[in-house]
Symmetry: C2
Subunit: 219 residues, 2 copies
């Protein structure tokens, strides 16, 4: 495995998709290992003993964990093409800020909307939409986030696009009505092969979430 | 304010201390503005409308938020002396991983130990000590974290040293008994002027926490 690049991942993970997109943008060949999160492999537990979570990038036998950190690592190691982080320190800080915002807000708020009923569900939905409206507001008139070049914040956010159908179905709203500029940005990103080939079909994600919901509700 | 460096902060904040240490290591002059978190200034609300939190570094009139992001920004802008991030991409990723671990674990677990009684308090205390034992385990035999050079992870963790007395008093344990190597590392860090002048007195922190506790318990 020395000198190799291995990705421990699971296909529906937005965080894993970030890493897949970054590797595809850089043209890095790697071995993909699908993890079963209900029966984690000894390799995953060995490589990420602290959080026991995917994605983990194993490079030259050494693990890198946490998707935003992995994407930065990929940008620093394969630095000869397709820069991901902006070169200007202030723009880098802004991109890091918004990826951190996504990491702090989106998944937890989705869970609140997903797994609740009644008032709690409505409150979660309202908060969830407001997060995406906030993310839409930070779009400028450029093609990608803050720039005409596809970069760190684009990679941080675009994987959630493959979950939009699921969010909409569970939340009973239309992302295109709530955040039309954001959806237009997502469609631009999907024109990149590195993105479209890294994201799963939205209906497949939905079917997966329906199945997970059934398991959670039967416990 | 153009071309100036301003720090919005509050003296007892571990996260603010990180920024103070980084600026001191780099020898950057700045204007310090103490914030009252019970009555936040219009400037803070304007500069960090998303989280409304300190610390905020204002450089040339533009805000940078979130302490770990600010420290990286400082390292990138004032890059002519005292490098903070390791130069090797893998070591950078490791340092980022552990600072992220601190950000995800320490403060929330401290609150659990601090504001609870009985079994919940004991569970919080046990978890809290295990986090610091984990951080101690990652120390090597070098002077600082992973290196003989004071860097990103050192800056991320050392501010908590000024709260050790408070943690010990509320948790009824001794950090020196639980994590002697970590305390020895902290004392080495405190020999640096940039650190010692950026951290408040531990008894002053304790008195502050006692006062905050009284306010919280009376609400």
């Amino acid at each position: 495995m020395a000198d190799g690049v291995v990705l421990l991942d699971t296909w529906a993970s937005m965080f894993g998709m970030r890493v897949r997109i970054a590797l595809a943008e850089k043209g890095v060949e790697y071995e993909y290992k699908e993890e079963n999160l209900r029966n984690k492999s000894p390799l995953l537990l060995q490589m990420n003993p602290i959080h026991k979570k995917i994605p983990v990038l194993i490079h030259n036998g050494k693990p890198i964990c946490e998707s935003a950190i992995i994407v930065q690592y990929i940008d620093e190691v394969w630095n000869d093409k397709a820069p991901i982080l902006p070169s200007d320190p202030y723009e880098r800080a802004q991109a890091r800020f918004w990826v951190d915002y996504i990491d702090k807000k989106v998944y937890d708020t989705w869970r609140k909307m997903w797994l609740s009923k009644g008032e709690e569900h409505e409150a979660g939905k309202k908060e969830f939409i407001s997060i995406f409206k906030q993310l839409e507001e930070t779009l400028s008139d450029k093609a990608y986030y803050g720039s005409d070049t596809f970069g760190f914040l684009d990679i941080g956010l675009i994987p959630f696009y493959s979950w939009f159908y699921t969010f909409e179905t569970y939340g009973n709203f239309k992302m295109e009505e709530e955040c039309p500029k954001l959806v237009a940005w997502a469609k631009r990103c999907m024109q990149r092969e590195a993105v479209s080939k890294s994201l799963p079909d939205e209906k497949k994600v939905y079917d997966y979430v329906v199945a997970v919901t059934k398991v959670l509700e039967s416990n």
